[in-house]
């Protein structure tokens, strides 16, 4: 195996980072009156090429969605190509595996509620190991079982947790069972793969553990909102968080209220959750907490740029920064389509 020259790879990644949109471009996009004006503005940026290609088939918000998705995928494939055949390839595989999980979950959700293949396809981001062709084949399957069977036929690892938990899913018809199973499988196998003492292992492990914390907090809030039996809770929690272990999470669940659970986070990096308005607690609108947690995770991901400039930290920081950019463009485009006032739009943005 060849040892990667981070000087070359990271210089290229930093070059790619220099093309990310800055705050002033986002400000301009927010102030644009409609979707066409946003497309015109985006055409002056690095999105020009993908927007031109997408505009042949699509118009309006679909054009932006398709172009951003393709640009996002292309950026990740570029990084993947730069590291192919190298030891560091496995780190990128782990980080990009996040999108594989997200895509499989999207397909399963779509199949579970019988959404059309086109609609499911629109929501996919083929940035991970499962490329667009593979995902299209999965989307074509008639139901959840067929999707899992096809994954198993192809020998894709993610089929294992799904197959193991399929019987329970078919008895209870609760997709959360499969979702938690695949999440747990991903985090456990990823943490196992980066359990060494190497600097690279530590960098990837840290971001994975933060992600586990965020996923666990979201699950705890859902468990409290949906009044799930605390005895069943460990089934939905993933071990290996950076700050919160399963015992602490169970303590949060036992409080039985959102206020009580959030209070338990006082001396942790997640104490920002206590700052949400009281109405959110009363209405049990956990999407507000989820958004704050996503913001935190993205900030943590982007902050990897401050790490060792000759390490995997730079590509990881870029992946998060790109994800943030695409998410924000999509939020702006959707808000403009739905005529959302500027103040609310700014509140919806993940992190500018």
């Amino acid at each position: 195996m060849i040892r990667v020259e981070y000087d070359y790879v990271n210089a290229r990644v930093k070059g790619m980072k220099s093309r990310l949109l800055d705050r002033t471009v986002f400000e301009t996009l927010i102030l644009k009156p409609d979707i066409d004006a946003i497309i015109t503005e985006l055409s002056t940026t690095a999105y020009k090429e993908e927007l031109e290609k997408a505009s042949v088939q699509y118009a309006g918000i679909s054009c932006i969605e398709v172009a951003t998705r393709r640009d996002f995928t292309r950026a990740f494939r570029n990084i993947f190509k730069l590291m192919r055949g190298d030891e560091s390839e496995r780190y990128i595989r782990i980080v990009l595996g996040r999108w594989d999980i997200q895509n499989i979950k999207t397909i399963l959700r779509g199949k579970n509620i019988h959404v059309t293949a086109t609609e499911i396809h629109e929501c996919l981001i083929p940035a991970g190991e499962l490329d667009e062709t593979t995902l299209i084949e999965l989307v074509k399957q008639p139901d959840v079982k067929a999707v899992i069977d096809l994954l198993a036929t192809w020998g894709i690892d993610y089929a294992k947790p799904l197959t193991r938990n399929f019987r329970e899913f078919s008895e209870k018809r609760d997709l959360a069972i499969l979702e938690y199973a695949i999440d747990r499988y991903y985090f456990e196998s990823a943490l196992d793969a980066v359990s060494g003492d190497a600097e690279e292992d530590q960098i990837v492990r840290e971001i994975l553990m933060t992600e586990i914390d965020v996923t666990n907090i979201k699950n705890v809030l859902r468990i409290i909102r949906d009044r799930i039996d605390p005895e069943e809770a460990p089934h939905y929690l993933i071990e290996g968080g950076i700050t919160l272990d399963v015992t602490k999470l169970q303590t949060m669940i036992k409080t039985g209220t959102l206020e009580g659970a959030i209070k338990q986070l006082d001396n942790t990096p997640y104490n920002f959750l206590a700052k949400v308005p009281d109405e959110v607690f009363k209405s049990k609108k956990i999407s507000v907490f989820e958004k704050d947690l996503d913001r935190y995770l993205i900030r943590q991901g982007i902050s990897r740029f401050l790490g060792d400039p000759l390490s995997i930290a730079i590509p990881i920081g870029y992946i998060w920064a790109k994800f943030n950019e695409v998410t924000n463009i999509r939020i702006i485009a959707r808000c403009k389509t739905a005529d959302v006032p500027e103040k609310e739009l700014r509140g919806e943005l993940v992190y500018v």
């Binding site: 000087d7 070359y8 990271n10 210089a11 290229r12 070059g15 790619m16």
Partner: protein, 72 residues
């Protein structure tokens, strides 16, 4: 009897300078190649940055020459 100390000293002064230049240029060179691949307009700047470590070997050469001339 030949005094080997002077040429060996001059050789070390020049050789280590050259080694340092080589290491620095390899790193700057590969990072520069990455930068130019993404931003071709930085070519001129990269040529200058790759050339900067040459000062190390030039200094080594000067020191080696001084050793040879002054300690003769």
């Amino acid at each position: 009897m030949v005094d080997w100390g002077i040429p060996i000293g001059a050789g070390i002064a020049f050789g280590l300078g050259a080694l340092g230049t080589g290491i620095a240029q390899s790193k700057i060179g590969s990072a520069g190649a990455g930068t130019i691949a993404e931003k071709p307009e930085t070519f001129g700047l990269m040529v200058i940055l790759v050339a900067i470590p040459e000062t190390l070997v030039i200094l080594g050469f000067v020191v080696a020459t001084m050793i040879m001339i002054m300690l003769k």
